[in-house]
Symmetry: C2
Amino acid sequence: MEIWRVNARRRSLLREATPKSWEKFGGRGLVARIMRDETPPTCDPLGPRNKLIFAPGLLVGHMLSSCDRISVGGKSPLTGGIKESNAGGRTGLHLTHLGIKALIIEDRPEDDELQIMVMSTDGISFEPAADVLGKGVYAAAEILISRYGKNTAIALIGPGGERKLSSAGIQNIDKDRSPSRIAARGGLGAVMASKGLKAIVIDKSGGEKPDIVDPAAFRSARKRYTEALMSHPQTRVYNDYGTAAMTMMASGFGALPTRNFSTGEFEGAERISGEMMRDMLLERAGDAQTSHACMAGCTIKCSNVFADDQGAGIVSPLEYETIGLLGSNLGIDSLDAIAGMNWIVNDLGLDSIEIGAALGVAAEAGVWEFGDEHRAMELLEEIRQGTPLGLVLGHGAAVTGRVLGVSKVPVVKGQAMSAYEPRAIKGTGVTYATSPQGADHTAGLTIRAKVDHLDPTIQTDISRSAQINMAGYDSLGVCSFGSFGFAVAPDAVRDLLNARYGWDSGDDILQKLGRTALTLEREFNSLAGFTSADDRIPEWMTIEPLAPHNAVFDVSDEELDSIFDWIS
Amino acid sequence: MEIWRVNARRRSLLREATPKSWEKFGGRGLVARIMRDETPPTCDPLGPRNKLIFAPGLLVGHMLSSCDRISVGGKSPLTGGIKESNAGGRTGLHLTHLGIKALIIEDRPEDDELQIMVMSTDGISFEPAADVLGKGVYAAAEILISRYGKNTAIALIGPGGERKLSSAGIQNIDKDRSPSRIAARGGLGAVMASKGLKAIVIDKSGGEKPDIVDPAAFRSARKRYTEALMSHPQTRVYNDYGTAAMTMMASGFGALPTRNFSTGEFEGAERISGEMMRDMLLERAGDAQTSHACMAGCTIKCSNVFADDQGAGIVSPLEYETIGLLGSNLGIDSLDAIAGMNWIVNDLGLDSIEIGAALGVAAEAGVWEFGDEHRAMELLEEIRQGTPLGLVLGHGAAVTGRVLGVSKVPVVKGQAMSAYEPRAIKGTGVTYATSPQGADHTAGLTIRAKVDHLDPTIQTDISRSAQINMAGYDSLGVCSFGSFGFAVAPDAVRDLLNARYGWDSGDDILQKLGRTALTLEREFNSLAGFTSADDRIPEWMTIEPLAPHNAVFDVSDEELDSIFDWIS
């Protein structure tokens, strides 16, 4: 596998053999390794010294169910720390078929012109982007697909990325060519714009699947993993309800963020539940699908296609985090309204979590009223137009709170919390507080642990273990839901890696990968200026009790500071 | 002397004897001591755990020339670190005559109502502020003076503070009752609003000058100091030209910030010089004054009253920093235009340095064109109206840069640089980078040092010594220009303190005070999460050369990190 190093100023490519010291890294871990090795941690995230990295996980390339995710990384303009954000879709798979272990985009063009970079077995070429500039992600992707062919992979930014908004992500087309698989968090879309790129098109014609050292062993491990995944009860739940199954679970714990995280109970919870959505989609039919896969080979198919009451598709997928942040967090209890907002946010190429949190803060400030879905849509259109208020919202919850004078802002390290209240699910609060990524449920969700989520004294171990595992899966390219399969068949991780690469990894390879990634990320952040003061839940959540449990976030600073206990 | 501790939630007062451990502290040093002793460094600057402190300097209370300044402090909403901002006017003098060593305002009201706090020998009372809310500083001060009498001191916030803008300061009325003496930097006006205060009125009737242990020795030292000050050539310069004398000096060094710090040369420098201003004011007469004192007893009288061509007063004083930031930095070469903008900024209760820098960044982003003074005035009115763009600008240069997607932002620790280009006066760049206060020329200006200001290898010692001395003077309540007198008669500091308090300070008392204040400030910031990564000039200034010397800021990180070499 090769490293493709693109100089964005000269628009040139250098193809290098993978350095020995990077061989055992992939995905999130490889992002962390490269950032530590090559990027000054104090660099301006939108300046010439930051890098934008695309690194497929270690298991990517073989259409293993839920294992073809692409990690995108760099220094985050949202958090000021290291950022890895991963997505499904085709990008990871296609990069591996070009033999690419990591694509590293360096430096910055002299001018502000955005172009399209086309990658193929011949290398790279740059083409003008004039006809897609300013266009939403959906329209731009359609043009690019018609120009470059249906079999390409495309990673692109929307108008939000073009404006270098801190909530801008990078959208990837899925197996059905919908550009809805976003590496959403931390503003990497703004970094892509700073590198002069509107889109990256990957044409894998003539490329090949990565070599497998021991194909028989790989097939055997794959079989065990797939069977474990297929037989896991959670796979059934996600197939039926998608991630929206979480609405009632979070609500049951009093952890559904409601009206800018002011309560954990939402009177409209059932109306925005997975059960309600399933009933609606089954009834509506037409484009509606209760189950849909983002990556070829996925057996879970947790996605859906949300259609309107005429059966016309609105958005795919409608996810729980979006429902929580654009729904209950805004006092909005209509799935149709949420789906409409979600389409706009996607089309702008923005992170729906960050935007939902920003709108919640804006409502807290009195800019609009919770529940007024019409006005919420208008505010999203302000982001598209780039009005001053739109720009503020587009930079996320922390900037919105700062500008509008709101102290109750649900962020850690400048990044908005996901749809799990840290005062009600305190282990996830520990993850929010301490993850090098900023507040992020995918860095270590703890809601499924069979413990008292309100007890502050027992959360650190749970969060630590979740963070290590997730950093491991993110290094493999495995989706959170693929992890259900590996949890039942843990040997399969070891066996797949050893068969694929000829390694002799032990049983703890997942944890090794996870710890290594976290260690490198912590080092980077420390050199970037982060301290334990950044590993905290906002002060107001430690003071103001949350209904219905009247809980504050009270995991002690000592507990928080002990989380990465293997790092001296 | 007493500590007056106000609880802003209960609107109650506790009068305490000064703790032994605080006795030797005053002004900036006392702010630092109190913040370290009582305030959690990670607190929300606008939350209940931050404190707003008014601490007169150690020499305040005796109408020593240029020695009655008030230090205001707390945790800064602009920098996120400790903040001390000092001002002339009456506030310091009046507090000492009530026997107050420090006024500490704690906690935060339940509601957002702003009130007026009246202080007298009877204690405190709170009164409704309805008739002054939303009013500019000038109109509000006039109402308050007519209500509370001409002999009161008043510290108040403007509409900017009411909106909790991060560039909001606290205005103090001067000896002639103009509310133009602003504790400008770091957003303390927003902190005052968070404590529910529009104004603090200090009625010193029945109060007394602070005791002097050895009046004869005090008189003698005072005489030596005053004579030294009067005979200093710089006193003459400031008397004639005010701080505007610096325009041509900075220009001569290629250090005049021009068009968002893009060059150090401004073709209109002479038109905004002190010499030009003096000629204009002498010709205009009427209200115009080339020399005016902000504090009773000042022999320097560096201020001025800027009048229009009919002789009608526009603003007093018009200072060099304002000329640099609202003038050359915005490509504006008309003193009349700058004075008009200055009046609005003052009336809003904002820091003209921060606002000038924010407007420069906005011009860089294409929001308006450099030099268009009419549009600049409109943008200032947007701040008054609280439009989204106005709020963004009012939060200062860093927020403006973030929202508008500009990387070339002249800030350190989130605070805008003053009107000395750090690439041309590198010692002052070292001060900007390393001062616990954020970029601030008053923390240690080096332009008068007789050295090569472009040589990166010799600046650290110069900045260190300037920072120590200034932190000392800020602890005494001495104005920067009073320091010219003490520089000639250094014994006078020691003798005045020993006579006033009965201490046995040695020759190095000024430096001791300075080092102690800086040490405490560094400790606070470190616990608040600051690291050496925060002690840096922005990356772009280390890469992009500045005309006319084509210099970058290239003092090494090692030099910067060695600045506080007495702190282990």
